[in-house]
C-alpha cells in the first residue's frame, strides 16, 4: 500500500549537507504494524515527515528516491493534492501532545477542522463525528470535553485527543512518532491498548516510531532498525529480537536493563556517541562503536543485504561470524543464552 524506495532526505546547512535519511526502503501493507527503532538523530522522524511531506523545503531536499502511495509518488505530487492525502489517507500522531495541540482553540474545534477539511459534512454533522471519535478513543463525557481547551486535559487525554484527530478521517496509514514517550507507563499501557483496538476495528496500517524496544515487541509485526540515517536491519519482529544480525541491533538489546532477566548481568554499553550526520565515518557508519569490528569495516560501507530469507542486515560479517562474536561477548558479560 505504501512503498518507500531508496528515500534520501538531505538538509542543506551552513556546515554542510546533513544526510538525515540516506537511502531507506520499506513497504507497508494494510493492517500491518511496522516498528521503526533508533536513537535520537537516526532519521526516524525525518522519514515520517518525508512521507507526510512536512519537511520544510528548503533546507530539505530529496535528491533520490520515491514514496509510492496508491500509485502516486508523494515526492512529486502537488501541494494541493498532498493536502488532500495528509490527514485523510495518511495521518500522523506527534510525540509531544503538549505542544502539538493549539492552546487557543478548543479540542473539539481542532478535531472538527480536520474532519471538515476532508469530509463533506455540515457543521453539526462534523460536531457529531467529533464527539463520536472522542468516545472511540475512550474519553469520558465527550459532549462536555469537546468544548474544553487543551490545558484542561491531562497528558494521557491530550494524546487520546491527538489519536482521535488522527483517526477522525479513517486514514489508511497512521504514523505514530513516539506517541507514548512523554507519558507515564500506566498511561502508555492505556494508549497502546487503544491503538491496537482501533487498528483491529479499522484495519489501519501503523508505522510506529519509537526508541523503546519493549513497545516495538508488543505491537510491531515487522521492524526496521535505523542508524545514522540508514536502515541497518529489517526483518520480522521475532527475527530482530531473537536473532539480530546487525551488531548495532544486538548491542542495543544488550545495553538495556530488563525487567525479565535476573539483575546481576552487566550491561553492554555501546561506546562513544552516534556519528555526526555531516561527517560520517569511513566504511560502515557503526564501525567506530561496533563490538565486532574488524579492519575491513573501516573501509567497506556495507549495503543492506539479505542474510537470511526475509531478514536483511547491513554488515560485512557473515552470519557465522556474527553468531561467533555474539557468543564471545555474551561469555564476557556473563549472559546465559
Amino acid at each position: 500500500m505504501l512503498e518507500v524506495n531508496n528515500l534520501k532526505t538531505h538538509f542543506r546547512t551552513q556546515d554542510g549537507v546533513v544526510k538525515a535519511v540516506d537511502g531507506v526502503s520499506f513497504s507497508l501493507e494494510a493492517g500491518e504494524t511496522l516498528g521503526i527503532v533508533g536513537e535520537s538523530g537516526s532519521g526516524k522522524s525525518v522519514t515520517a515527515l518525508s512521507i507526510m511531506q512536512l519537511n520544510p523545503k528548503p533546507p530539505a531536499e530529496y535528491p533520490e528516491g520515491e514514496i509510492i502511495f496508491e500509485d502516486q509518488n508523494l515526492l512529486e505530487t502537488s501541494d494541493k493534492r498532498m493536502q488532500e492525502i495528509r490527514g485523510n489517507d495518511i495521518a500522523m500522531i506527534f510525540q509531544d501532545p503538549m505542544t502539538s495541540l493549539n492552546p487557543v482553540f478548543t479540542v473539539g474545534n481542532q478535531i472538527r477542522e480536520a474532519i471538515r477539511i476532508h469530509q463533506n459534512l455540515s457543521k453539526s454533522e462534523a460536531q457529531e463525528k467529533t464527539i463520536q471519535v472522542l468516545r472511540d478513543v475512550g474519553i469520558a463525557n465527550p459532549e462536555r470535553v469537546v468544548k474544553e481547551y487543551p490545558h484542561q486535559f491531562s497528558g494521557g487525554m491530550r494524546q487520546r485527543a491527538m489519536i482521535a484527530m488522527g483517526l477522525s478521517c479513517n486514514p489508511k496509514v497512521l504514523i505514530a512518532d513516539e506517541p507514548t514517550t512523554a507519558l507515564d507507563v500506566t498511561i502508555q499501557a492505556q494508549i497502546l491498548e487503544l491503538m491496537v483496538d482501533l487498528q483491529e476495528k479499522y484495519g489501519t496500517a501503523i508505522i510506529m516510531i519509537t526508541h523503546d524496544l519493549g513497545v516495538v515487541s508488543q505491537l510491531a509485526d515487522n521492524v526496521m532498525v535505523m542508524y545514522a540515517g540508514r536502515a541497518v536491519e529489517q526483518a520480522t519482529t521475532d527475527e530482530v529480537f531473537y536473532d539480530p544480525l546487525m551488531p548495532y541491533s544486538w548491542s542495543l538489546l544488550r545495553s538495556l536493563p530488563r525487567l525479565d532477566t535476573a539483575g546481576e548481568v552487566r550491561l553492554l554499553p555501546i561506546e562513544g556517541t552516534p556519528p555526526s550526520l555531516i561527517f560520517l565515518p569511513d566504511g560502515c557508519n557503526f564501525s567506530p562503536r561496533c563490538p565486532f569490528v574488524k579492519d575491513e569495516c573501516h573501509e567497506i560501507d556495507p549495503d543492506l543485504e539479505e542474510k537470511k530469507p526475509s531478514h536483511k542486515a547491513a554488515c560485512i560479517l557473515s552470519v557465522e561470524e556474527i553468531e561467533k562474536n555474539k557468543r564471545r561477548v555474551d561469555e564476557e558479560l556473563g549472559v546465559e543464552t
Binding site: V185, Q218, P257
Partner: protein
C-alpha cells in the same frame, strides 16, 4: 568544623546500619489564590514518608510523574524545608542544623540531576564546574594547581579525558555531560549520592554507559545511592531495595527481587505489568492490567486509600480507611504478622494495602475472602 561532625558521627552508635533515615517527612506546598494570596489549600507532594537507607546500598525510588519522588530528594538534601518530619543523616537530625553545620553535612550528600543540559552552567568550563565544590568546601589542596590535578583525576575516573578541563558544556554530548555531573557529585568523596532520574534524558545506548559508571563508582568509593527513576527496568538493574511511591506516600518497599517477583500492592503489580519487555513471545502471552484513569491531583487526594480510585481490587472498605505500610510475608504464607515484624521495622517487605496481591493471585481477582488487616 567538618572534622568535629565527622568524629561525632563515627562515635554515635545510634545511627546503626542506616546512613539516612526520614521520619514522617511531609512537604505540603500552599496553594494561594485571590488578591490577598490567601492559602486555599495544600499540594501534598510528600505526605508522611518513612525511609531508611543502609550504608552502601542502593535504594531505588519509583513512581509516576507527580508522585513526589523529586520533592523527596530535595527534602533529604534540605534544598527544600519540609513542613514536618525528620531527616536523620548518620544518626543526627539535620533539620535543626544552621548554615555552617549544614555545609559540613552537604560534603557527604550530593545529587546528580536529571537533565544534563540544564544542570551545568553553560558559561563555566568543565574544570570550574567540577572544582566548584572543592572551592566551596576548601578542600583538594591549597593551590589552584592542586585542585586542577584533582579535577583531572576526577574526569578520568568518570571516563572523560583530562584535556577536557578547559572545555565548555556545549562541546559535550548528553552522556558526556552526565559524566561531568557525576564527577562534580563525587568530587568531595560524599557518602550519599541522590541520583534524580540520571539516565532518563539519555539515549538507550548511552544509558548503559552511565549506569555502569555509577555501579563502578559505588564499588570503588563505597557510595550509598538513592536512585530515583520512573523506569522500573533501570531501577531493577541498579537497586538492592526498591520503594514505590504513589501520591506522596510510599505504598510498597522491599528487596529488589521480592518486589519484582512478588509485588503485594496492586499499584506495584499493575506498574510492572504495564511495562512492555523487549521480548515478542513474552509480550504476546502476557496478561496486562491496564489501570483506568489518571493519577488524582495531590492537592485533593482521594479519601481512604489514595489508590482506590484506580485500583482493580478496591472494595468499599478502601474508600474510607487508610492503609498503613505493613509487613508482608514473602513465601511465608500464613504467619504474615509475627514473622516479618520480628525482623525489625525496616526489614523485609512492606506494603500499604488491605487486600494485598497474594502469591499466585492475579491482581484483578479481588479476593473478598482476604481478611481485613484491621488498624
Amino acid at each position: 568544623m567538618t572534622e568535629s561532625t565527622e568524629t561525632s558521627a563515627e562515635t554515635n552508635g545510634s545511627s546503626g546500619d542506616f546512613l539516612l533515615q526520614t521520619k514522617d517527612l511531609k512537604m505540603h506546598f500552599p496553594i494561594r489564590a485571590g488578591v490577598l494570596q490567601r492559602t486555599v489549600g495544600h499540594v501534598k507532594a510528600v505526605d508522611g514518608v518513612d525511609l531508611s537507607v543502609r550504608r552502601g546500598e542502593t535504594l531505588g525510588l519509583v513512581g509516576e510523574s507527580g508522585c513526589g519522588k523529586s520533592t523527596l530528594a530535595r527534602l533529604i538534601l534540605r534544598l527544600l524545608e519540609p513542613t514536618e518530619g525528620e531527616v536523620i543523616f548518620d544518626g543526627e537530625n539535620i533539620l535543626g542544623y544552621d548554615r555552617k553545620r549544614m555545609l559540613g553535612v552537604r560534603r557527604n550528600m550530593q545529587i546528580v540531576f536529571q537533565d544534563p543540559y540544564a544542570s551545568l552552567n553553560p558559561r563555566m568550563t568543565v574544570g570550574n564546574i567540577v572544582s566548584e565544590p572543592l572551592r566551596t568546601h576548601d578542600v583538594g589542596g591549597d593551590s589552584s594547581g592542586d585542585r586542577k590535578k584533582r579535577v583531572q583525576e576526577l574526569l578520568e575516573v568518570v571516563g572523560l579525558s583530562p584535556e577536557h578541563y578547559n572545555r565548555y558544556p556545549h562541546e559535550f554530548s548528553g552522556g558526556q555531560r552526565q559524566r561531568i555531573g557525576v564527577a562534580r557529585a563525587i568530587a568531595l568523596n560524599p557518602r550519599l549520592i541522590i541520583c534524580d532520574e540520571p539516565v532518563s534524558a539519555l539515549d538507550v545506548s548511552i544509558q548503559a554507559q552511565v549506569i555502569n559508571l555509577l555501579q563502578d563508582l559505588q564499588k570503588e568509593f563505597d557510595l550509598t545511592y538513592v536512585f530515583i527513576a520512573h523506569d522500573l527496568s533501570v531501577v531493577k538493574h541498579i537497586s538492592d531495595r526498591v520503594a514505590v511511591m504513589y501520591l506522596g506516600k510510599i505504598v510498597e518497599i522491599a528487596d529488589r527481587d521480592a518486589l519484582y517477583d512478588e509485588p503485594r500492592h496492586p499499584y506495584t503489580a499493575s506498574l510492572l505489568s504495564a511495562i512492555p519487555v523487549p521480548d515478542p513471545h513474552k509480550e504476546r502471552e502476557r496478561r496486562r492490567v491496564v489501570l483506568s484513569g489518571d493519577v488524582p491531583s495531590p492537592a485533593n487526594p482521594p479519601q481512604g486509600c489514595s489508590f482506590h480510585t484506580r485500583c482493580p481490587r478496591a472494595q468499599d472498605y478502601c474508600t474510607n480507611h487508610e492503609p498503613r505500610l505493613e509487613p508482608q510475608g514473602d513465601k511465608v504464607g500464613a504467619e504474615v504478622g509475627s514473622g516479618a515484624e520480628a525482623s525489625g521495622p525496616t526489614e523485609g517487605h512492606r506494603a500499604a494495602c488491605f487486600f494485598p496481591v497474594l502469591e499466585g493471585q492475579h491482581i484483578e481477582e479481588s479476593e473478598t475472602s482476604t481478611p481485613y488487616r484491621a488498624e
